[in-house]
């Protein structure tokens, strides 16, 4: 099926899709409550990476490892963090941590320096500021107050 025919079919399916959640859906005689709902999302597509060995030498190679770092949040200090914090590992490690309290990030940067991170002392403050601003719980950030709830009508 070519791309256009597939999409036309998807759109057609939608026409008889019954909206609403399962609990409130009027029952179809055939029991079908919902069908043909699609979401466009390519994040699930993965390409195979294994190269075919291709020779019988004593060298066992798997080729390059794919690199796909999760980008850092945008903001002041981002480039500094990108350069100093991606020497030994990708910045992916930063984003996958839970949202730790701001004081954690000072300790974490000190830990990295202890592990060998060549971060000049005068840069530490800016790096910690950035991490606290973007990777600590929002509530504790005075610079980003939570919007006030609208008064109820």
């Amino acid at each position: 099926m070519n791309r256009h025919r597939f999409m036309a079919a998807a759109a057609a399916l939608l026409l008889w899709t019954l909206p609403g959640s399962a609990g409130s859906t009027p029952t179809n005689p055939d029991g079908l409550s919902e069908a043909g709902v699609y979401a466009l999302d390519s994040s699930g597509l993965l390409l195979p990476t294994s190269p075919y060995p291709g020779n019988t030498s004593s060298t066992y190679s798997v080729g390059a490892y794919p690199l796909a770092p999760t980008p850092l949040a945008r903001g002041t200090g981002q480039e500094l963090v990108e350069s100093y914090c991606s020497i030994c590992h990708s910045v992916t490690l930063i984003g996958v941590q839970p949202r730790f309290p701001p004081e954690f990030w000072k300790k974490e940067v000190d830990k990295m320096i202890h592990l060998g991170a060549p971060i000049p002392t005068e840069m530490v403050g800016q790096i910690v500021d950035y991490l606290q601003k973007h990777y600590s719980p929002v509530k504790t950030q005075p610079s980003a107050p939570e919007p006030k709830p609208k008064p109820s009508p």
């Binding site: 256009h4 399962a22 490892y65 030994c88 990708s90 974490e108």
Partner: protein
Amino acid sequence: MTGLLGTALPLPRLVRAEDGTGSSALSLPDTHWNAALPMAQVPQKLPLIRFSDRPIVLGTPRPFFDSLLTPNAAFFVRYHLDVIPNAIDLSHWRLLVRGNVAKPLELSFEQLLSRFEPVTVVAVNQCTGNSRSRFAPRVPGTQWGNEGMGNARWTGVRLMDLLHRAGVRPGTVALRFQGLDSGRSAEGTPAHSYAKSLDVGDPILAQCIVAYQMNGEPLPMLNGFPVRLVVPGRFSTCWVKHLSWIEALSEPDRSHWMLEAYRLPDNARHSVTPAEVATGKLATIAASSVPMPVRSFFVRPDGSSKLVVRLPIEVKGIAFSGSGGIRQVEVSTDGGRSWRLARLDPDLGPYSFRGWRLPWTPQRPGVYELRCRATDGKGNAQPTEPIWNPGGYAWNQVETQTVFVGEAA
């Protein structure tokens, strides 16, 4: 056309709870068991749960534990440092045994195969930090669900055979193991190299294998090709991959990876409070020196789909321990009020996953809390209460699986 689809299609990125409130929106069937992270595919592997792309850290998705031996292509991957071998030439590679020994050895892969008796053990390889995401308060590190573990049949040579041949000399206090992986950090810094040591008097040495085969195949590169150290019953931290140097030390190994990382509170449950840690007076031991505590897991049902009332199913899972295998597994279908004994599958040895199963027919629609609790060969049972330690190590609380049972008519 695309524009039309883009606007007209509902986007069920989040699965709504069926009560219509949307309150328990999940993007994966069970974000508790496996972390809700994207998948990545790397050489010799199926798509696995991606914790880090550099260094490579990947977790095994839950369905693979349906098999007692975890397939090599799905076996978890965990590196600390990012200079990971991409290619190894066996005409140059040697395993060196050196240091305080009478006769240093330099063994080729071929010599390991031909000059030593092959031995096999089925053993669980589990990251010390497996299940770290359960810790409250949360602690830094790889935020594993339960995907930092696997079970394989390892074949290779006895570590003891190598040590005997080299003749470890008196005065040796520890054996240090190091592999080909390293870091980009300056030499001498902890992030430059990763090596682990075992005490020379540790009885586990007699069980260790330098493995060149994993489930009957060469080791995948990312699981340690050409050989890795297998330390049955112990955490992965000392299962050094791409093992190339075995060094007999006459001084204790005082590296970061022995003395600062991978330390457990020195008590039976490996548990402390944040307040006790704050005193700075905590007694700790190396995680590589203790057996893995007993654990058990539900493999099925996994909560990803509803069960149907009065339709019989088989509740199925795995259990393991570093202390004498599994004696029994109990299962509760009522949140821990009552327990039944599960039937144990055939025994693959004391260090292997032990399969277990229990038939169950839910009698009423509703939300059920299943629990499983294993007891090991030494009589240790899994705790009902959580543990806590600053490294996020050695988690073994009783597992809970929530399942929804729907009406049949």
